[in-house]
Symmetry: C2
Subunit: 210 residues, 2 copies
DNA sequence: AAAAAAATCCCCCGTATTGGGTTATACCGA
DNA sequence: TCGGTATAACCCAATACGGGGGATTTTTTT
């Protein structure tokens, strides 16, 4: 029996019913063990030092320290632990905040509860489990607007500007004259109805032109 | 029988064995129909105008026009069609290029072939099917480096710089003096060992400090 | 082949920004 | 208490910036 080395899990979730439900579900699965569960981050940060789980299921909507703020704190004491976010809302900002801070997976509670087990297995295998709606949000964030008013060349130049390059550096790098770059930038500003690099970048990012 | 309105699919894939295999597999599934299959993009672009499929399975490694270059061309004539990329290699650049150009899903051929059917269903439902390894690449691209040499304040300022803001705008916005911003930038440059905004942004992005 | 769009280059102007040098103070967490 | 952090000051020369006028050539579309 491989029960000697189960995958260890800690649950941080304020709703007692859900917490106990997940605990029961996971413990009932062979090769998985819930070491501990907490109803808030404050307690968890103390207990986790001893628990040292491989995977943490972390609710986003928590009293006190929110789940997202907890991620860096957890990563600080347990850098190798995988964190899977649990939430009822698939708020876009939350998704990206959690991911940039180091969450490895993101599930909405509307998912079939058995998916939790699959997700735990998946992060341990180095994967990145996501609910269907979360995957959609993530993928959509990559999609560029196909209806940009900017031409190819203008888009190229605006991308360079967004990378912090000066007009003269852009000119050298693109093998065109500084005056040409200036012309393009003027046209970009007119098309985007802005008067500065800053606003051009903001406008372009908002509309996913770059 | 709901066979009257099957999910319509077109396959673009140069390997005849795979092409025929997928065609057979999909046609054998109730409620799915392969309208056509092509061995190259050139032919596909002509035929697609009539086919008008809901979903296209698109190989990345194709002779002539590559799969990635095909995406915008396909989107141009069929903006509403979902595109699922198929590939043997999970090359990072390819993944992000395909996604920014508008691919909705990304599967590696090492996946269980039955997953294809699930993926087709998933994009039609507005989802974003990904292989486990692809999901991992995507999620990892969001993760920030936790070992940044920059302080919180320095990181904040560098982010503003990356947004194209001038020192004076940063100062106003952060309610600190212009001289303070200058000091922070000087320190950022020293820590990152650079001498310009451009290089600071590049270095910070390379190391995922911002 | 003609018209339209995109890309290229030129000159002018005044103001603001940039990178770099040096020093200093208040605060705060280990 | 000590180093790191955030704050601020003063100096300087070089350049980058936004905006105003054009003009020409290449490419694309019709």
């Amino acid at each position: 029996m491989e029960n000697k080395n189960p995958i260890t899990v800690v649950i941080i979730e304020d709703d007692e019913t859900i917490r106990n439900g997940f605990t029961y579900l996971i413990n009932a699965t062979e090769n998985y063990k819930v070491l501990n569960s907490y109803s808030n981050v404050e307690d968890a940060l103390i207990g986790l030092v001893n628990d040292k789980p491989q995977v943490i299921l972390l609710d986003i909507e928590l009293p006190g320290i929110k789940g997202i703020e907890a991620i860096p704190k957890i990563k600080h004491i347990l850098p190798k632990t995988y964190i899977i976010m649990l939430t009822v809302y698939d708020n876009e900002d939350n998704v990206f905040n959690a991911l940039t801070k180091g969450a490895s997976g993101y599930l909405t509670k509307s998912d079939n509860t058995e998916k939790i087990i699959d997700a735990i297995q998946e992060v341990v295998n180095g994967g990145a489990p996501m609910s269907m709606n979360i995957a959609k949000i993530v993928i959509k964030s990559f999609h560029k607007n196909q209806n940009s008013p900017l031409t190819k060349r203008e888009t190229e130049i605006l991308e360079q500007i967004a990378n912090g390059k000066s007009r003269s550096k852009i000119a050298k790098q693109m093998f065109i004259d500084l005056e040409t770059v200036k012309s393009h930038i003027k046209n970009i500003y007119i098309k985007l109805n802005v008067h500065s690099r800053e606003d051009a970048i903001k406008e372009a990012k908002n509309n996913k032109y770059i």
